[in-house]
Amino acid sequence: MEYEIQAGDFQGPLDLLYKLVKKNQIEISEISLAKITEEYLYHIKKLNKFNLDQASEFMVLASELLEIKARLLLPNQNEEDDEDESDLVQRLEEYELFKNIAVELELYLDKAARTYRIPPEKELIKGEGKLNIDISLKEFKNLYQIALKANKEDNEEKEDPHYSEMDHINSDRLDVEEKRDDINKIVKRHPEGVRFKDLLYNKDDILEIVVTLLSLLELVRLRKVEIYQDKLFSEMKIIDRKQVV
């Protein structure tokens, strides 16, 4: 997940230098940086495909190293010249300090991962998908009892020895057009409105329920009837549109 362009195995010029120092098994404070300049340059040459930003980062340090080396080769060395080197050594030391701390912190992280806490309670249904069921507890209980009763009847039916689990083969006796006309007639006969249930001959016939609903939707589309519902999940009341107007 962490994204940082890396040149080869090195996170940056200091990292490369640090690893060279370590590879040579020298204490940072004792190292003559001039000695590993060659090696540093060799690695830079090996890094291909790096971008300008990165290249410049590596080059800055390369030039620092070259400068140190050049000074070393020249006569008349004075104390001031040593400063560049000691500055770089100091930076390396500080880099090492944090590199080690980072390793230690990772151990903390691993240890911390071994403790658990109660996760934040998750909402069952998030955000917009939330259902707002605006019914009282009593109504809810009634609905539950209706469902329970329906289920019971269903089970009783199944206990009937004459009941066959096998599906009956029925002729295709339902079609939307026919049903639509039926509903239209029923609704006209009952200006006070009818319940969805009243439109079904057999309330357990899923096919009939589907066809009836489709017919009803068709009638609504044709603006023949209107459907009212007091609340979500409450019973649909179907009224002839002419009665409404």
Binding site: N100, A102, E104
Partner: protein, 180 residues
């Protein structure tokens, strides 16, 4: 201290989803901070006993119950804990620098690591481990970075003074130098 107060403090912290600041706890249970701290101390002692599998954790004066780390071996088999993030060594190094040197600017971090820190800082802020503390009163008014409370919790550190002393790194050099 009344027993009921102890129970109330315990219940309130238990129900919390995030570490709870002492101020919020004392308001909620209607105790002053001093009494509240007494309750917390007592609870902490109580839960640190061996007979308890949970412990009262403190992060920068915020409190939350967690399971003891000794319990992890079997808990982890049943409750998969998603580690929210995996930090690269670059991110860890940058985070270490911020933790010890805060408030610190980006260029100060880059100076130490010798590479650009922009992307790493972005990652660390994305995980809420660091935040902007303000602006430095120098040329360009650079942003000052520091660690967050989430940092403490993720690393299970009570407060910044509990960070390993910087010299530790130096002394343990031999121990870790082969990790590269």
């Amino acid at each position: 201290m009344e027993e009921i107060d102890l129970a109330r403090v315990e219940a309130f912290i238990f129900a919390a989803e995030e570490p709870m600041p002492i101020k919020v706890i004392s308001n909620a249970v209607d105790l002053n901070k001093r009494e509240c701290r007494k309750c917390i101390d007592k609870l902490r002692k109580k839960y640190s006993k061996k007979e308890h599998g949970i412990i009262l954790k403190e992060y920068d004066d915020k409190y939350i119950f967690k399971t003891k780390s000794q319990m992890a071996s079997f808990i982890s088999k049943y409750y998969e804990k998603e580690r929210e993030f995996k930090l690269s060594s670059a991110a860890l190094e940058t985070l270490s620098i911020i933790a010890y040197k805060q408030p610190v600017t980006r260029s100060e971090i880059e100076e130490i690591r010798g590479v650009k820190a922009e992307k790493t800082l972005f990652t660390l802020s994305k995980y809420n481990l660091i935040k902007e503390l303000g602006r430095k009163d120098s040329i360009g008014n650079p942003i000052l970075y520091g660690t967050t409370d989430e940092f403490l919790e993720h690393f299970d550190i009570t407060d910044l003074s509990e960070l390993p002393p910087l010299e530790d790194g130096k002394n343990n050099k031999d121990k870790y130098s082969d990790n590269n």
